[in-house]
Amino acid sequence: MNERIHDLQTPVADAGTGFVRVGMPVSRVDGRAKVTGEARYAAEHPAHDLAYGVVVGSTIARGRIAGFRLREALAVPGVVEIITHENRPRMRSFDLFYKDMTAPAGAPFRPLYDGEIHFSGQPVALVVAETFEAARYAASLVAVDYLPQQHETNLMSQLARSHKPKPLKAGFSPPPDERGDAEAALLAAAVRIEAEYYSGVEHHNPLELFASTVIRGEDGHLTIYDKTQSSQNSRWYVSRVFGLGKDKVTVRNPYVGGAFGSGLRPQYQLPLAVMAALQLRRSVRVVLTRQQMFSLGHRPETLQRIRLGADRDGRLRAIVHEAVAETSCYEDYVEVVVNWSGQLYACDNVKLIYRLVALDQSSPMDMRAPGAAHGVHALEVAMDELAWALRLDPLELRLRNYAEQDQMKGLPFSSKALRDCYERGARRFGWARRPLAPRSMREGSELVGWGMATGTWDAMQMFARAGAVLHADGRLVVSSAATDIGTGTYTAMCTLAADALGLRLEQVMFQLGDSNLPVAPIEGGSSHVATVGSAVAGVCAKLQKRLFRMARRLHNSPFAKARFDEVEFAGGGLRLRRQPSVAMSVEEVMAAAGEAAIEEKYLMLPKVLKQKKYLRATHSAVFCEVKVDEAFGTVRVTRVVSAVAAGRIISAKTARSQVSGAVVWGISQALHEETHADHRLGRFMNHNLAEYHVTVNADVRDIDVIFVDEDDRVVSAIGAKGVGEIGIVGVAAAVCNAIFHATGRRVRSTPMTPEKVMAPGGDVSVSAAL
């Protein structure tokens, strides 16, 4: 389906935007719709006869539901139904049907399936009423009797019962086998460091709450506006869980207010809303509360231990990186935490271990740069510790261990401009002026420190289809069931298409966010531009050829003798490269050929055989300045320079926003974010945005983003890699290393809150030079 779907309210660039080229800084085509409130999010779609569902969550972490006392709640005027596991509609019984496209190994959680409680906050009932207010009030009156069982949510007390994870998750590779003999090399190394690094739980907290509006058509067809990173993943899930034909369900997500990985899997409000719609045969909306957002997945609490051995000149002899992370009791959520340590630096002896502890919590979930955000963090802090042990500049240490090729199979990198990142980032930051010793710089009551770190992430590509319809009036509609979670997909795809056909940006519409559109992967893993973008480029290339053929065949065609490679698409149509005055606009060609519209389709399959011959990754170098008042442990990040090598940059402005936003999140990871569980209750307690601290404007000062030139035609036909995750990797490490440089104290636990940073005991001069 490639024709325009009017209900989607697909945004178009403002009139007058004009011609654009790939790589230009283009303002978001969806920007106006978003800032004016015109853009409708999942909870904002109107429906006739809509009922409202409010979720009731479990207050225990493990046990069984003994029964419900619902009389009071049912008596609230306007309440239509209270759905529990006792009266829900039919759901499929095999685990397989509950596995969405990114599910890890295990038995996925099934909301309201039975009376078992697996985690605190688990949905146990859905109150449906004629108004949201009635549903919410009645939900507060639902009384649940539990038969609690002993729960365990404390990773740190359960390390001993860790297990080797089942690796079955798309995109996951288990740690490779040991390379060389790491323990022996460690023993023989002239210089060794060893340390443990702890990272607490984080929750995604996109601004938009998870919500699903299920609109039931007269024929029973369900059109679902869902907050998800893939409309097709949600449709697949709903069809399978409820045994509905794919043609009976359409899922849409034209606007998504952030997700950061939390929308990679269908969240429980989706099946709950569908359940209610099926049971009541009417349209239903379910929106989670901010508090309930803390019952979804999270970045898993992780403990890591790193041992490094090096020669006196800083050459790495051994790396041992071990990680233990938590998962739920029903799935083995896995992410790549330690593998980076075998890839980032040249080293012959590497041992990597990754284990899980099953706890009575909801399954963790991918969160921006899953695994790398804390895995590379630990490695990069350890490298800084090693640099100081060697009295070597931390950047110099990295250069001495620069990996020129893949360490496991000896494959070359498809492209790797990390050296340029180091060089340009360091120059912009002024790194050369850094004194080696900690506690060397002071300003008033604050110590000043400079730190750096390397970042890396995979450069992936999936397969995708795209369709395109070019109209006689020069309008181009390109379609794919892609997603824009705020990353700039609309803008990047419109830019690619407009550039390809030489059209004005406002002539191009990129239609995404409907499960009926041509197949696209889930928006995740920083692969969307490389994947969907290549499909868009592919379908536009077909249109170019078709237009050219049409033009050449015209009576008295100015292109009669031209070859395809002699024309270019620019200025609203095609023209001869050598003689640009010989030109025809798209409208002229279409009119002359008597076509109202032409359509093309394209299937983009990654060139797997070629790709397998290379290691494909993005890289970054992050430099950071902090000011620390060590009497109180307060840290200000005053300057960050992030130099990124991520292939060809398609949409410069949105790409830059991705990286600067990721730097902000890196600061947040470093200093602020943590969800605290009370393990006696097995429950996360700071479940609101007043107490779950994310970095605010006042915490953010200068952020400077540099894109280093790369153009990688192995990763994608358009030369792009991806910028979604790379921006956060290494930021927290750079902050940690800067804190060390400022204070001489190494904080090995994130977030680095004041009590961890502040000078212990009475040895601190409070009245530091005011």
Binding site: G57, F632, R683, M685, V766
Partner: protein, 345 residues
């Protein structure tokens, strides 16, 4: 959220009558006043507060800030926190109050929050906010879940075995140091409460944050004539640079004589107890002394006497000690310029 009735009060008498009327069909304590709504509405959404009726105070003529005959200032209970902080007389005479208010919450919240509401904001103890857990302050007698739990934000002074919560306000710390007086009105008449007597320690009745009666309305907050404008400082230590509650905060104010000796000292702490923490003995230590770190440290020791952490929050003790010294030092050097510019509103 529980359904509730709504009444827009015309004047103080109407507001007070509406607490139980019409016809006295609402028991005393079951109605709540609504001012800026930045706290009460959140509490209602989380089912922590379930008033049967909201009595909206926003039409009352209590939003003015005016001078008193005695040379002090009368702050209307309905004056917004932002309007108070940026008021020229507050800024020039009570920069400590201005700084404390601006150290709190966010510009948006300060624009809504009222002075009366600020005094009555409830604790930020995680358990108090989560109806899935027992809490003596929320439901008396159910137990204190914070004990032995997540206590990073909790008290190090004046706590009891029934509650270890802190009062979260910044404004109140300055008001305590400035010896403000709270003006109350009820059907029984008007009365005034010294700020030190307004908030209370939890004891075995942590459900009561203060000594106000259920049928009283705050009409004004009175500031006595200013003595410390030239030498005051509000130091707030928190997890991020804005929009978070104090781990520890200090309001310090000094009056120095011609010889640079301390003629008068005021010192109050926030984030450490169930009420703004002030001990006249700590201030007495400074009386007549030169403004020097050794004396500041001595005052800190007295103010923090008996401080006890819960483990997780032990860091607050050295943090508070250092903060007191630093704040006194800053105050002695002269009140810092405005922390926040007018344009930021």
């Amino acid at each position: 959220m529980t359904p509730f009735a709504y009444h827009l009060a015309r004047d103080p008498a109407d507001a007070l009558a509406a607490l139980t009327a019409p016809g006295g069909n609402i028991p005393l304590g079951a109605a709540s006043f609504l001012a800026g709504g930045t706290n009460i509405l959140d509490l209602m959404k989380e089912n922590v507060a379930r008033p049967m009726r909201l009595v909206d105070l926003n039409q009352l003529a209590l939003a003015r800030i005016e001078e008193t005959p005695a040379g002090g200032l009368l702050l209307g209970a309905l004056a917004r926190n932002a309007d108070t902080a940026y008021h020229p007389l507050v800024r020039s005479r009570y920069p400590l109050l201005s700084a404390a208010i601006l150290a709190g919450a966010s510009p948006q919240i300060r624009n809504m929050a009222s002075n009366g509401g600020n005094l009555l904001q409830r604790t930020r103890c995680y358990y108090f906010y989560d109806t899935g857990t027992p809490c003596n302050k929320r439901s008396p007698g159910s137990g204190c879940t914070a004990l032995g739990g997540l206590t990073r934000l909790h008290a190090i002074l004046g706590a009891s075995e029934h509650c270890i919560a802190t009062h979260p306000s910044d404004m109140c710390v300055a008001l305590a140091a400035l010896e403000a007086v709270v003006h109350l009105r009820s059907a029984r008449g008007e009365r005034q409460l010294a700020f030190a007597d307004f908030h209370r320690l939890p004891g075995d009745t942590p459900q009561h944050d203060n000594t106000m009666a259920a049928d009283e309305l705050i009409t004004h907050i009175e500031l006595p004539p200013a003595r410390h404008a030239a030498h005051s400082a509000y130091l707030k230590l928190r997890d991020r640079a804005s929009y978070s509650f104090a781990l520890v905060s200090v309001a310090a104010a000094l009056a120095l004589d011609e010889g640079g000796r301390i003629a008068s000292a005021r010192l109050a702490l926030g984030g450490v107890a169930h009420k703004p923490w002030r001990q006249p003995e700590a201030e007495a230590v400074l009386q007549g002394k030169p403004a020097e770190p050794a004396h500041f440290a001595a005052a800190a020791a007295v103010l923090l006497a008996g401080a006890r952490g819960e483990g997780v929050n032990d860091f607050k003790i050295p943090m508070a000690r250092r903060a007191i010294v630093r704040a006194l030092e800053v105050a002695a050097a002269g009140t810092p310029g405005p922390a926040c510019r007018e344009e930021e509103r």
